[in-house]
Symmetry: D4
Amino acid sequence: MKTLLLAVKDGSLPVEQAVEQISRLPYENLGFARLDHHRRLRQGFPEVIYCEGKTVEQVVTIFARLADHNPNVLATRATDEMARSVRDKVPDAEFEAGARAIYLWRDREIRGRGPIVVVSAGTADMSVAREAVITARVTGNEVDEILDVGVAGIHRLMDVLPRLSRAKVVIVVAGMEGALASVVGGLIAAPVIAVPTSVGYGVSVGGLSALLSMLTSCVAGILVVNIDNGFGAGFAASLINRP
Amino acid sequence: MKTLLLAVKDGSLPVEQAVEQISRLPYENLGFARLDHHRRLRQGFPEVIYCEGKTVEQVVTIFARLADHNPNVLATRATDEMARSVRDKVPDAEFEAGARAIYLWRDREIRGRGPIVVVSAGTADMSVAREAVITARVTGNEVDEILDVGVAGIHRLMDVLPRLSRAKVVIVVAGMEGALASVVGGLIAAPVIAVPTSVGYGVSVGGLSALLSMLTSCVAGILVVNIDNGFGAGFAASLINRP
Amino acid sequence: MKTLLLAVKDGSLPVEQAVEQISRLPYENLGFARLDHHRRLRQGFPEVIYCEGKTVEQVVTIFARLADHNPNVLATRATDEMARSVRDKVPDAEFEAGARAIYLWRDREIRGRGPIVVVSAGTADMSVAREAVITARVTGNEVDEILDVGVAGIHRLMDVLPRLSRAKVVIVVAGMEGALASVVGGLIAAPVIAVPTSVGYGVSVGGLSALLSMLTSCVAGILVVNIDNGFGAGFAASLINRP
Amino acid sequence: MKTLLLAVKDGSLPVEQAVEQISRLPYENLGFARLDHHRRLRQGFPEVIYCEGKTVEQVVTIFARLADHNPNVLATRATDEMARSVRDKVPDAEFEAGARAIYLWRDREIRGRGPIVVVSAGTADMSVAREAVITARVTGNEVDEILDVGVAGIHRLMDVLPRLSRAKVVIVVAGMEGALASVVGGLIAAPVIAVPTSVGYGVSVGGLSALLSMLTSCVAGILVVNIDNGFGAGFAASLINRP
Amino acid sequence: MKTLLLAVKDGSLPVEQAVEQISRLPYENLGFARLDHHRRLRQGFPEVIYCEGKTVEQVVTIFARLADHNPNVLATRATDEMARSVRDKVPDAEFEAGARAIYLWRDREIRGRGPIVVVSAGTADMSVAREAVITARVTGNEVDEILDVGVAGIHRLMDVLPRLSRAKVVIVVAGMEGALASVVGGLIAAPVIAVPTSVGYGVSVGGLSALLSMLTSCVAGILVVNIDNGFGAGFAASLINRP
Amino acid sequence: MKTLLLAVKDGSLPVEQAVEQISRLPYENLGFARLDHHRRLRQGFPEVIYCEGKTVEQVVTIFARLADHNPNVLATRATDEMARSVRDKVPDAEFEAGARAIYLWRDREIRGRGPIVVVSAGTADMSVAREAVITARVTGNEVDEILDVGVAGIHRLMDVLPRLSRAKVVIVVAGMEGALASVVGGLIAAPVIAVPTSVGYGVSVGGLSALLSMLTSCVAGILVVNIDNGFGAGFAASLINRP
Amino acid sequence: MKTLLLAVKDGSLPVEQAVEQISRLPYENLGFARLDHHRRLRQGFPEVIYCEGKTVEQVVTIFARLADHNPNVLATRATDEMARSVRDKVPDAEFEAGARAIYLWRDREIRGRGPIVVVSAGTADMSVAREAVITARVTGNEVDEILDVGVAGIHRLMDVLPRLSRAKVVIVVAGMEGALASVVGGLIAAPVIAVPTSVGYGVSVGGLSALLSMLTSCVAGILVVNIDNGFGAGFAASLINRP
Amino acid sequence: MKTLLLAVKDGSLPVEQAVEQISRLPYENLGFARLDHHRRLRQGFPEVIYCEGKTVEQVVTIFARLADHNPNVLATRATDEMARSVRDKVPDAEFEAGARAIYLWRDREIRGRGPIVVVSAGTADMSVAREAVITARVTGNEVDEILDVGVAGIHRLMDVLPRLSRAKVVIVVAGMEGALASVVGGLIAAPVIAVPTSVGYGVSVGGLSALLSMLTSCVAGILVVNIDNGFGAGFAASLINRP
């Protein structure tokens, strides 16, 4: 802003234009959406496309536009059809159906301070875990993933303790009663991001029991994101992991 | 009622007929529904048809009957099939599939005191926003609509501030955490009608988080309608906007 | 903002000072609170003090500071002790214990387009109704209040219909099943603001049943505020009633 | 039981047989279900078949077995396929698809003390209202049904007041905010059974708002059944209507 | 209404007065409350005073006013202080502290068709049961009450079966899981009104588990009122029991 | 029952008396309560007194009456005042204020198949754990209790593993996220009864998060009782532990 | 563990290998899942496969691997396709579609102390009851199942009382209001495991009313599992039934 | 562990002692609590005392014991009485009544990578914010706190943007609709920890609306802790801020 005001002062920028630039510059209006190109400067990664509720055409347009300006792009909760259409236009985009993620990963430099470890409690939590893994990777982090280490057999967890201990951040993905977050949190010194999943039946349908369990953990320092929000966990882990 | 009683007094209306007229006059019994033709006198717009739970035949019959007596007619939550059948019978009726609205808009006179501005937070909220826009238009208002101005990039909102400031009423349509209502409400002097949408996942499924957020806004004067009730917001805005 | 930028351009305002003024001007930092003196310009009424969670000293300080700059001031959810202390410092402040409101009402000019009618369903809803009445009055409106017109005896409502019909806005305050909002809304053409109250027992404890009932009213155009939020209803009614 | 014990005393019934008869007599074990033939003696109507969760074969078997012993039989929540199969076996059984009810109505004698009136608020509540109507009829009552008298146009209700006043019991079927129950209850002296329906969207999805509204009615004497339970309302009305 | 219109026709009643009488007659405005004297004609019993949220003075004024016009009067949810003050003014009023009911019971004629039986599940449900008993008695019914017959020892219930079988209506008062309503309902032919109570702890706090249990009873014909609403149950039972 | 019928047959018991005895025998009617003396025969322990909602006098009367017929008696959720009054009448009764339990423990014979282990997660869960311990003891079991072994430091749990492994039943008492139940359940072969407690704040207020967590445990065989129901857990453990 | 340490001490096991064995031995890593072969030693039965959220291939691989090491294997919530594929690979595996269970039952020795009785309230609860029956059988128990004994006709329950009395554990499966658990629990001395089912509509949708009802039963010693969790009930019953 | 096993191998540690040490070493059993002295090694800070549900004596004993072994100690949710008693024993302990925190802060070295900024939305959120501030300080961080920057006057937030931009982590403390977390999150690149508070009334009572709003924020990377959990936020921020 100061730069802008200086340009006003020395007369190189007329006042009317300054007012306009202040509000107009940082995004592009596509009609149905306003692209926030400024985001990458502000948060280190361009706007991420949340595909639910968008048409295939809208996803393709936004993805292509972002791909023009950024090396890495991410779209979450995408359908197979969206993926096909995006890849017709942006051939180096990749798609992982289980994670429902379309991503462009041209810049593979590691920028994080250390590894992010993603642990999941059961096979059924895998798609959410994979969304977290992909997000953490395309935002410039080394990721180590560990599957199926539920608390029903706690020795399975002990085996992977050394890998957990190396982490700068740990993401725990668990449905049902979500106890894994507390157990992992009690064993390590890194911050833990807990992702409740909607896996389960009866009173765990929708992920409420895991969510409440994680929010009320008796272990200090557990941080929680919305149910099934693997993306949010991966993104926050990436912010934490920056130098 | 006084007119009626005077007619009774001067004998021009027999008592029995008076009793009958008091209860019979204002509506028409179609068998499966009772049409409230009086509504236009009372509220300035005829009864609006809520299509859910009605058969195609019922919708067509009611729409056609209202179209006989009124220049403008509105049916919400309609299916494509209902729209086709209504337009077979009332050819100048229009249909917008995204908004699920069938409407007859013969009288396009603007009666409102000023513009109604409809702001939506994300692409996925668009169908609810469109229902509000159509409702506000067919009830005689100038409408200005602004899409995709979520709080994640607040500068997008600053750009449209002048348009918001012209409004006599602002309708804010937002899902997820619904924070846009608070932010808009804090910036302008017009009354704000907040419409929570069922967009989202996890604890925002169904729109509860947006609803609660809007009801508990720390900004004074936010008014809330039911989740996804674009019609209610548009209709209330129209009532507020009357001279 | 334009004025400011012009001053920068003609050199009468150094850039550093401009940057500072943009962010500093509109409020005053009391240490524990930031007073938004700009609010009156933006919304036509100064910041309203929400007393819950504040100490007596904080309330007194803020009230006195606002009273220095504004003719009318309002504090809601106040205790008797707060009222006494405020009135020691600002002797012309008034207090209504039932409504828990402290208010300064020096400027009594009516600015609204017409009367605001406040209707309440039962004797127990009176304190919330009174908060709405006081708010609407100190913000410059003529207010007509009607008590105890519950739907159990619907003829009581018929009697007051002429007064309801005169309103530019109607505020309906009701607990339990909140049906009064629907019934009133069906009878008149003005916008209706419904205030659910926490009056009741069993499943109506806390006001949830009234809230849901009002949000799902089959009458078009009912607008809802938070449970017991008489202030919000009165404030929004005032915004709606402006010319 | 006394009869049985007397038979034991005079030796005409051996003790072992007495013990057996006490527990065995009143029902028939079909393997997958235990038919309570005693029910008609105890409650005046045979066991009613709740079809959800039963196979077509089970419904047919139970219906046919009950039809052998009783003039009137009722099955609720039936599918079209169940209806066809039942009617293959019991040709005089009738089916109303909208109400999802299969019924045998051989004995049409009226046994109730007066008419049962069934009022519904909207077109969409009709299937639940019809279930109540059919239940009340096959259990021996005169039924008067009144459709689409929502509170949005309260004069529609006034017209039908004379019919409501004739009732020994009134059943009010309403979704959304369910205010109709309170309004009807305030106008008449007969007991009112309120049936919330799952009609609506947003916070009324599933019928919760109507249920809470009816339970918290400020009108004395409103009795409530489960959401969409037209059968329960019709059956209870029939019990109330007995001499 | 017809009488009124006839008086208008024959000129004995001027039109203006007629309009006034139509809306004014049936109630008396006490300022803070509107007394519905018409209620006794319409429902056979005067307006019942719900004391919560009213001041002692308001309760006394309303009680005394009703006592002037009616032989029997009832006030529920009263405090000891309210009772003392009412009895100062209306000496023949009685008070039962456990049931929190003040009542005037001058006319003790039995008008009901048969006995109303009130059954309660535990000692802790007694106050709600007593509210139902008093209500049913002052509205003109013979009442038989049976305490502490929970389902944990079902033989206790068998003992009282003959008394249950005599009832025209049975009121079942139960907290915790509320199973007593189902068990009683399965044994008798009279209509059953179930009153959930807020007795219990954990997930039964507030009475929710009993309420849900009663609404979902597998026994046909169970009718439910709000939690702790002994009055509503007694009043509805009285309406059902009328000839 | 057979004995009774045989007595009827041989004439030693008149029929009328038999009918009476069948329903009268097994309990004693105290007016305000029906004492189920039969319970000890049926379940091996006399009726347990739940004190909430009872007066001091009622508790004393029931306790004394049970103490006349049984060696061991238990009253839960008792106040200090109740305890003093009971001990005035039954001097060998004991009271533990923290557990809110009054108990008579004359017969101390161990009848269980092995030890019952009660584990609690935090200091704050102790009162619920103690209620379970006392219940299990007075019903004839050896009890081993282990305090403060939360999952935040899982090595604390490892230390007590040998004691857990000896158990025939383990009761786990935990508030907050209740993960201890899953962790213990995964380590041992005995059945686990989980008792959620209302310890905590925010979303764990009232014990809901612990309850849901325990119900949705990924460990097979976890059995759950109501929040804070230490008595229920101790009683069920005793039933399980019987030979 | 002691064995292992002794091997370290006498030098037969190098330290590095010991560390590895402690964490590696008890399970096998299949890549997507970690098989806990140790489970059978620890809990007497191998890991049970919860099929929801797993692919057909994953289920087949795990089932086959467990079948290599164990005589009996169980997979719950399986689809028909999973069953076909498992049986292609493990031909002696059985499938019961209604219970959605695939099981291998080679070892049919009875190890339990007595019979486990499974009682269900209605025909619609049968699939959950069957899951409990199969689980209890493959884990080595004699099972007696009793269908359709709802509380609406309580005499049906009396007939089966002798069979209930023989049980070491009783499993009660019931939807709607779940009162059967309380009634059964009040009649017998064995521990009762209550399984709420998601059978029903309105407020019983999803099984919440049955769950709450069972948790708040006034009968001591009722133990509850998650909604529809027949497997958990059967497994816990088996643990309880062990010598 | 390896060290221990090596000692076993070389014979310097007998096997029995090794087994004992593995489980015994890391904590101290105080009878009513097990102190986890190992915690400081594992997580860099000793066990934090959660005072709710503990007696004054228990808090004093634990605090004193921890003060013997650690330079800094923290106790949360403490009462004034606890504070006085702790300070009698540990004179250099400090107490902040508003934050309900007792703390020993001998080691004031800054170990974090940068400042932690704590922002609160309103005066009423201050006690929770202070708990976060104290926690972050005693765990070795520079903290910058900013009070009363609610979204109702968004310019107040703009002023403090430079301070927010300096943060390595930002903690946002807000009640009501919690929109501040989204707005702050959209403006900066550091990870944001959102703390919902129980400030508010109506549907925000208890903090639910703020919690849901924060979990469903449309801004990527918002991390959430339990309602009013200032400690958890401060502790997690400290873990994130470590080098």
